[in-house]
């Protein structure tokens, strides 16, 4: 009702709450890549059709009806869009080696001390800076550096023991 009378603060709050509800609604019904697009579409519809909301009735069913309508609309569009069958011999990169390396690395990391393994995971695999990793692990920067250095040395010797190339 506040939105219909032009109360911007109330409207922003309403749209924010509606958007989080919409994300949750569509995340269970659509592929993740579409969730934001459809949620945006519903927010736009909610804006343009806000005069159709009857303030005497609850807001939830009104929003849910629009969300459902847009969901069905999107499903229909997905059904109608042309899809080509992929050929059997489609060239694609072979990820087997990368998957195997990740598996071996995880097995070796599991044999390190947790502090060393965590520091290596955050900085060398996830790409965090030393400072960010220190904050995340609740350690000093120098301790993180020491853990990474010792951990990598340990990893190297473990890899040699297992017969993996460095």
């Amino acid at each position: 009702m506040a939105a219909q009378t032009g109360d911007a603060a109330a409207y922003r709050r309403l749209l924010t709450e509606a958007s989080s509800w919409l994300k949750s609604y569509y995340s269970r019904r659509l592929p993740p890549s579409m969730v934001d697009d459809v949620a945006q579409e519903v927010l736009l519809s909610l804006h343009t059709k806000r005069h159709t909301y009857d303030p005497a009735k609850p807001f939830g069913p009104w929003l849910a009806a629009i969300a459902r309508y847009k969901w069905i609309d999107r499903l229909r569009a997905m059904r109608d869009s042309a899809t080509d069958e992929l050929p059997e011999d489609l060239p694609a990169r072979d990820h087997a080696e990368a998957v195997q390396s990740a598996h071996v690395l995880e097995a070796l990391l599991a044999r390190l001390k947790p502090a060393q393994a965590n520091a290596i995971r955050l900085v060398k695999i996830e790409g965090l800076s030393i400072k960010e990793a220190a904050q995340r692990l609740d350690q000093t920067i120098s301790l993180v550096k020491v853990n990474i250095h010792r951990g990598l040395r340990e990893l190297s010797s473990l890899a040699q023991e297992e017969g993996y190339e460095a």
Binding site: Y11, T48, T52, D73
Partner: protein, 213 residues
């Protein structure tokens, strides 16, 4: 992040709006229908023997049936422009009303004598003319309801156009009753039914493209 910026944009664009009023939508459609009927009478569209015809039971049946169907379906159509309104149950009741009206007409008609009699009673040349006039007379309320539907937020794009089509078609048939030279209920059920069916079909397939939002 994109959602946040959209929310900011929509908040900046916010302007007060007047909530939709059902009675106002109903009044607009009623006004369109009344103006159409007044214009038809003004140009001498009505039968010359209207006073005598008004005493005939088939005339009362036609006027009563089509006005009832038109008003009920028009009201349901206007309500269906609300996204939360469920059209399914409404459409069922409307079909029941239409069936009762048609059955009443068949009782007035009496049993047909044979196939030849039925064919002569149907008089297809006049029937096609009647059906096409009903289609033309349905256009003003159809356009009015379609514009209201576009302004509203219908969510059932299959059934809402049917309600709109039935309402406009029934109004077209109601207006045509004043000019129709035929009183045979069999003829009326068949040819009026074809005219109304055409309008409903057009509404069913055209309105979703026009009113989609």
């Amino acid at each position: 992040m994109r959602l946040d910026s959209l929310i900011e944009q929509l908040t900046e664009d916010l302007a007060p709006v007047r909530p939709r009023r059902l009675w106002l939508d109903g009044a607009i459609v009623a006004l369109i229908a009344a103006v159409e009927l007044a214009l038809l009478f003004a140009i001498g569209f009505a039968r010359l023997d209207m006073h005598r015809m008004m005493t005939q039971p088939t005339m009362s049946w036609r006027l009563g049936s089509f006005s009832l169907i038109s008003v009920v379906s028009g009201w349901l159509a206007i309500r269906s422009f609300d996204p939360t309104y469920s059209v399914r149950g409404a459409l069922r009741w409307l079909l029941l009303i239409i069936a009762i009206c048609a059955v009443c007409g068949m009782f007035l008609s009496g049993a047909p004598a044979g196939v030849v009699s039925i064919i002569s009673r149907l008089d297809w040349r006049s029937g096609v003319d009647c059906a096409s006039k009903i289609v033309l007379l349905s256009v003003p309320p159809l356009v009015g309801l379609a514009l209201l539907g576009r302004r509203g937020a219908p969510t059932d794009m299959r059934r809402t156009p049917l309600l709109v089509g039935v309402s406009a078609a029934a109004w077209g048939a109601f207006a045509f009753v004043f000019s129709c030279p035929f009183n045979d209920p069999l003829y009326i059920v068949v040819w009026y039914g074809i005219g109304c069916g055409l309008v409903t079909l057009v509404s069913r397939f055209v309105l979703p493209r026009f009113a989609r939002w």
